[in-house]
């Protein structure tokens, strides 16, 4: 799976592209990578470069917009 050949347009390259994309998205979301995964990205720096521009620009790992403001109604006194 972890080939060190230069990427081309073969199906194998497709798989590399997938893995690079997933790892880059993980990094974008702030997650850690294993040493072998870091090495994988270093090996396929060219693919990394092309994938970087295709990653979504918005924050991915944000879940829902966080908080709704509380509605406070103070019990009134005359």
């Amino acid at each position: 799976m972890n080939r060190e050949e230069a990427p081309g347009k073969s199906p194998e390259d497709m798989y590399i592209q997938q893995k690079v994309r997933v790892l880059l998205m993980l990094k974008k979301m702030g997650s850690n990578l294993t040493p072998s995964e870091e090495a994988f990205l270093r090996n396929y720096a060219g693919v990394v470069h092309s994938q970087m521009s295709q990653l979504p620009q918005h924050n991915i790992d944000q879940g829902k917009a966080v908080t709704h403001a509380h509605t406070h109604t103070h019990s009134l006194t005359v």
Partner: protein
């Protein structure tokens, strides 16, 4: 001069009174004493008796002097010019009994004179009322005017006022005269009469019964300032003290007439007007909507911004407080600049004004999250976090919590104003007061996420020793809104690598795991029910999501990762992958992704059967979920067979590249290539096996 005239009148009146009612001289004016002599005699008589044996020239002199002294003390106005009482005491500094009694005697005399006058006034009014009542209904406006003026004069004296109040016919004729008045003077006089009557409880009832309220409401359109003043003041008295008056004013379209009066410029007039609005709108939604429809919010905000008469500001803030709980009025007040206007009055000397403004701001704050120009207000609120007043703290934390919600500019400003440290101190001082603790923690949670100084805020919490206090909030007894807010804050704090150790040392991990277990068990217990379970208004699914999310970020630290895994949490996280709540799926996939960095944990994850739900999650529309799921599958498949990896690849392609046509072409080649490779591999294997 006037005093002498009054005194002379008094003398005459007493003389008359004597002739009418009494034959004897009571001594009230003549000074003839009826009290016991301050020496030895025990007899009470109109004149002093003297025994022959004691009557001497000297004693007679003393007697005459005493009578004169008493008369001089009680009735100085009756002394002949040049006549003066001879002092008897040898020591001038010692007062005689007569001298000591002089002032009380004067008071008694004055009271008696007033009583006599009162009776006269009452009698006069009683005789005049029927006639005046008739004249007020005369066809001739001049007659009506004169009658109105006389009645107005009568209201100046208490005795005659009481007579008027007790005459329903008179009150009704005044109301009618006011309504039909063709000249300003008649309108003014009659309005003044009603105003005077409204100071008496019977007067209020009489006005109410005579249909005075609709008439007074009509007067609010008068061009005459004094009529307006009398009208609004009388209505104010009715609203304050007469049952049924509020309903009557509302029915007479009073609000529609009162709201435009907010454009007047007399501060005292405005104070009464705003108080009327508060009395009418408190607890009455329809009234609040009428005020809104007539431009009330804008006028009220204008007053707050442009006046400095304390009573007016206070009454206006009370109206705004009433309106601020109305969902329709709230945005209108905010749009009119209400937040900024109320914020102007938070540093003055009037505590009641400050507190009213704070409550109103808190009510409005959830509708003001997108307002600009709140810099000054935010700064003041941060300062108020140092207060010991629990009401002030409750409001300040609540307002800050709302204004920093999804507003990155406000978050940055509050952080720059020292809000982090101030909020930590508020949390420490709050203790068990959830009304302070919850909004304070929510505000900290906002400050530690999604703005340019979020990292600064995350570090500031640690540097101001906030982490132990925050983690402690997870302990029992659980107040779930506070727990929910704290879990979210811990998650944000963990984003800062420098906080990871402090959070671990404060015991965050075991507390979060225990909370997660408890909440999850609760959701499972009610799984068959379609209804969500709430505790203190918080769903347990939210606690599950929050705790898992916090553990996900904590797991970025390798030591924390080990501690989380060692608490046998992996089976639970795998189970959570099946949750129907998308956010729970996301955070559980996320924490498994971090845990899978460790080979041993990766094996445990695989052993728990995580592959199946993770394969499903590859197809999630949520990119985060699909990414985490893919990453976990990559990590647990490192030692797996090629078939397994092929399946992962195909599933990934179906999910991550499904919108990319070029990628689909590549997928076809991939599948073909993988299939060819597989066939070649099988053929080679067969040939070698046979041979």
């Amino acid at each position: 001069m006037e005093m002498m005239s009054i005194e002379a009148d008094s003398v005459v009146k007493v003389a008359e009174w004597q002739q009418t009612y009494y034959a004897t001289d009571s001594g009230i004016q003549s000074g003839a004493t009826t009290v016991q002599d301050d020496e030895s005699s025990t007899e009470y008589s109109g004149n002093k008796k003297y025994t022959n044996s004691t009557t001497t020239g000297t004693e007679a002199q003393y007697s005459l002097t005493r009578a004169q002294r008493v008369r001089a003390a009680m009735f100085p106005e009756t002394l002949v010019e040049g006549e003066a009482a001879m002092p008897v005491q040898s020591d001038p500094s010692q007062q005689s009994n007569v001298q000591r009694l002089a002032e009380p005697s004067q008071l008694l005399k004055t009271a008696l004179v007033h009583l006599i006058n009162y009776q006269d006034d009452a009698e006069l009014a009683t005789r005049a009322v029927p006639e005046l009542t008739k004249l007020l209904g005369d066809e001739d406006p001049v007659v009506v005017n004169k009658a109105a003026m006389i009645v107005n004069q009568l209201t100046r004296k208490e005795a005659s006022l009481r007579v008027l109040v007790q005459s329903p016919a008179m009150v009704a004729s005044v109301v009618c005269a006011m309504t039909t008045a063709t000249d300003m003077e008649t309108a003014r006089c009659t309005a003044s009469v009603l105003h005077s009557l409204s100071h008496q409880r019977e007067g209020l009832l009489a006005i109410f019964k005579a249909g005075g309220i609709p008439a007074l409401v009509r007067m609010l359109s008068s061009p005459v300032e004094s009529v307006l003043f009398y009208g609004i003041t009388t209505l104010h008295n009715l609203l304050l003290h007469q049952e049924g008056a509020k309903m009557a004013v509302r029915l007479a379209d009073g609000l529609q007439r009162i709201v435009p009066l907010l454009k007047k410029s007399n501060p005292k007039f405005l104070a009464i007007t705003t108080d009327c609005l508060q009395l009418l709108s408190y607890g009455n939604q329809e009234s609040k909507l009428i005020i809104l429809a007539n431009g009330g919010p804008e006028c009220l905000v204008f007053i707050m911004r442009n006046y400095n008469y304390e009573k007016l500001l206070w009454t206006t803030s009370r109206v705004l407080k009433v309106l601020s709980v109305c969902p329709s009025n709230k945005p209108a007040i905010v749009e009119a600049g209400g937040m900024q206007a109320l914020g102007q009055h938070l540093t003055g000397s009037s505590q009641r004004l400050i507190q009213n403004c704070l409550w109103t701001l808190r009510n409005l704050s959830d509708a003001a999250t997108k307002q600009e120009g709140l810099d000054g207000l935010l700064q003041i609120l941060v300062t108020q976090l140092g207060s010991d007043d629990v009401n002030m703290l409750t409001c300040a934390t609540g307002i800050l919590s709302n204004l920093t919600c999804n507003n990155s500019r406000n978050k940055t400003l509050v952080t720059q104003y020292g809000g982090v440290e101030a909020l930590i101190h508020a949390v420490l001082r709050a203790g068990e007061k959830e009304d302070v603790a919850e909004p304070a923690v929510c505000a900290l949670r906002h400050l530690t996420s999604r703005h340019q100084d979020a990292e600064l805020a995350q570090n500031a919490v640690r540097l101001h020793y906030g982490i132990p206090a925050i983690v402690k909030l997870l302990g029992q007894p659980h107040y779930w809104p506070v727990v929910k807010a704290t879990v979210g804050l811990i998650r944000n704090l963990a984003l800062c690598p420098a906080n990871q150790a402090s959070l671990r040392e404060a015991g965050a991990i075991p507390r979060l795991v225990n909370l997660l277990l408890k909440a999850h068990q609760d959701t499972q217990r009610h799984a068959s029910s379609t209804q969500h379970t709430y505790q203190d208004g918080v769903r347990m699914e939210e606690i599950v999501e929050g705790c898992t999310g916090a553990l996900h970020i904590l797991a970025r630290d390798p030591i924390n990762r080990g501690e989380i895994a060692s608490m046998q949490t992996i089976p639970l996280f795998v189970q959570l992958l099946y949750s129907y709540v998308e956010n729970v799926k996301r955070v559980s996939a996320g924490v498994l992704c971090e845990l899978a960095l460790d080979k041993h944990s990766a094996e445990l994850i695989d052993a728990e059967g995580a592959s199946a739900p993770l394969m499903e999650l590859l197809h999630s529309n949520n990119e985060g979920i699909a990414t985490y799921a893919a990453a976990v599958l990559f990590r647990i498949s490192e030692d797996k067979s090629s078939d397994y990896r092929k399946r992962v690849s195909v599933e990934l392609t179906h999910s991550l590249f499904k919108h990319d046509p070029a990628a689909w072409e590549m997928v076809k080649y991939l599948c073909l290539w993988m299939s060819v490779c597989f066939c070649v591999q099988r053929c080679w294997h067969k040939s070698h096996t046979h041979s």
